[in-house]
Symmetry: C2
Subunit: 227 residues, 2 copies
């Protein structure tokens, strides 16, 4: 283990359940690996459009498979993922633009709250089947992580402004420039200081190899109690 | 560990490098897990066409990513995967129909040779950049695994006949009926005798969970010496 922490950048969108899994895995492994985890909310809609990629469920058999796959990953990682009742509406009509802008505002103003807010937004959309598209929903999420009403007002205002919109576009473009075509996209800065693009929640063994660290399982004992 | 072996069916096509990785992983884990591994060569072209799925490289950024991903998996698993120089021609023009039919003939007539023949075909297409489309190439692969000329003649003849063609179609249809949309497709018969469809070479931790077994790493010490 080197003295300098190695950086892992996690590009994610709360619309993506596999991003949630990668997020919890990497948050847990901060306690085992000598890593500096940088949370980088981006806009998955922009990634899919620019890369020409299609959501998995655009192939019907893949959509059916995802339900089983996610349910097994839930059991393996102890992450309470549930499919929303109307998954097409939640993912493709309502989407995550307002949520990712709100997260971006929080990252600029209160970066220490990006982790709990991301988790709470995933709990809403991907566990309790609650809305994340309306401003009222975002306010509820903000309250849940302990923000005060005036702070929430400020962050909501900020999230509608150009600096947040531009920041979210920049982060999304940075991921595209690095080769992203979906979420989660992980950039592992390895021992040789090379940036390694890794896609998906299922490459923890490979990330461990790149870091020269050991993978020791899903660390379910570190699942936050609120999960 | 139960006394009865649990069955794992591996549906694969030698055109798919991720299938090779799953194949070697599962062949190695036969020595650790109480499993009966059933090798089930199918035709990936038929799976893609019927499911409406597209090859990963149809999204350019995904194609670029695969090169890096495969190179890291090669290092992790000690499987000597190399991209063919002209990957589009090898995968989409030449394809694997003749090879999968030859494998099917071998499975009917000399089932114990399906494993070494599959490995040799992968070595040809996905390691040494050699052809697997011509009958002469299939003959060379047959010789390499110790088949005699008259045996090869018989298997080549057999591979052109209706019983082999129909058998390959049947296996492909069986995978489609189980929900397949790509390769490798793995069916894990778990402790409750439920059939679990698993996609990809990156679900060994989940397969271990379904079997009630332990995953203990890539078992690189079991890499065949010829690799």
């Amino acid at each position: 283990m080197s003295i300098t922490k190695q950086t892992i950048e996690l590009f994610y969108d709360v619309v993506s359940p596999y991003s949630w899994i990668a997020f919890e895995e990497l948050c847990r492994y901060r306690t085992k690996w000598n890593i500096d985890l940088k949370l980088r909310p981006f806009f998955l809609g922009g990634i899919m459009q620019s890369s020409g990629n299609k959501p998995p469920a655009s192939v019907p058999a893949k959509g059916d498979y995802m339900v089983h796959d996610i349910s097994r990953l839930r059991r393996f990682y102890h992450i309470p993922v549930n499919f929303p009742a109307n998954v097409a509406e939640v993912l493709f009509v309502k989407g995550s633009l307002a949520a990712q802008r709100f997260l971006t505002a929080v990252q600029i103003t209160k970066p220490e709250l990006v982790e709990p807010l991301s988790r709470e937004l995933w709990m809403r959309i991907w566990s309790r089947d609650e809305d994340i598209a309306s401003l009222d929903s975002l306010r509820q999420a903000g309250r849940k992580i302990g923000l005060l009403e005036p702070e929430i007002d400020g962050l909501i205002d900020q999230s509608k402004g150009d600096s947040v919109k531009n920041r979210l576009k920049q982060v999304t473009q940075e991921a595209l420039d690095a080769g992203a075509f979906g979420a989660p996209t992980i950039i592992v800065h390895d021992l040789d200081n090379t940036k390694n693009l890794v896609f998906g929640s299922d490459r923890m063994l490979i990330i461990a190899m790149l870091l020269g660290e050991q993978y020791v399982g899903p660390l379910t004992e570190l699942a936050p109690s609120k999960l």
